[in-house]
Amino acid sequence: MAEHAVIDRYLSELEHEVRWFRDAEEILEEVADHLLEAVAVHTRRGLDRVAAQKRALTEFGDPTLVGRAFASMRSGGIAMPTQFTRRSGVALVASSFLWLAGLAFTYWSDLADRTRPWEGLPLALWMIGAFTLMAAGVLLAVGILGINRRHGGALGGTGRLAFWIAVFTTITAFGAWMWGVWLTALGVGAVVLAIALSRSDIAPKTSGMLVGIGGAFASGAAWIFQLTTPEVNLGSGAVTAWIFAGLAIYSVGLASLGVWLKTEEAVDQTDPIATA
């Protein structure tokens, strides 16, 4: 459509706005048909080719406005930042801190008294640690839902698997002392989430990589110590340091994903019809 260079440019801009919709190609075909018909009508009425194209585009509306109209007039299955996805971003940021805090509390619990972990301060610290880890798991699950919603469900089956692993991690985190269990779940879930993010190709790539690498590192460190030096308790300082390092990387990834979700402008805060 070289003779319709102005229309082509507009369609490219609109494509950028609707690229995440499953029916993006059909939307563009329909809009192209409309615009070319409008150009033909304006040309018959005496406008030259360029003026006719410009008139057609003016009448059609700004591509950003049109793209948002498509987003806001749909429900479910549509990729768009919403107020929910923004809140899930906050959940992810909170989750990133809580994983580290939960680990710190459980380690502190071990330090407080290893021989009588079910009484007094050790028990209180352990309970705080366990519930902090569980809260982190819940917020992670909410965050994954938010990312998936932002993607219009594009995380697909891999994303759903990551969500359910997060739920499993939350449940197992109640047994905070069983690091091998919840950390394994966390590590596997992190890698699955990273794969889902990589496939969907919408979130910042570095964030997904940090989540996957950090989670795998934390989980892997625990298992390496467990397998190579079984006499060393998983709650020892050396193991905890490695796990903490992995979780720190994981948390940075989660937090950056959360910030990304939080800072996007929600389309359901604007009303394209009202602003028309």
């Binding site: 075909e29 329909e30 509306g61 028309a276």
Partner: protein, 112 residues
């Protein structure tokens, strides 16, 4: 007329236009323009999402054909859409008549 004033009534207008026979998007918008005598100042591009939503809700169906070497989507009113249009028409008539009576300033009935 501002787009805001049209909000909430666009579905009814679109269904009414498609009720007269299958139409593609451009024809729907042209008909909207003609019948309203250019009263609605609405970006044309925002009509398409509304058509898509009506289709998703089952009030319209669409089919693709090839016209002048390009693909064209044509909308048709479904049975459900026809039923919804009837209901909305009746609601609108009742509403507009009530508003009309108020605006006419019907005098307060004299007490006997």
């Amino acid at each position: 007329m501002r787009g805001q004033a049209l909000k909430g009534h666009l579905d009814l207008l679109l269904l009414a236009i498609v009720a007269d026979g299958p139409k593609h998007g451009y024809a729907v918008i042209e008909e909207l323009r003609l019948r309203s005598e250019d009263a609605f100042d609405l970006p044309e591009g925002t009509v398409y999402p509304a058509l898509h939503r009506l289709e998703k809700a089952g009030y319209l169906s669409s089919s693709w054909s090839e016209v002048q070497g390009r693909r064209r989507r044509t909308y048709t009113l479904t049975k459900r859409g026809s039923s919804a249009l009837g209901e909305q028409r009746q609601s609108w008539n009742e509403f507009s008549q009530a508003v009309g009576r108020v605006l006419k300033g019907v005098p307060w009935p004299n007490t006997p």
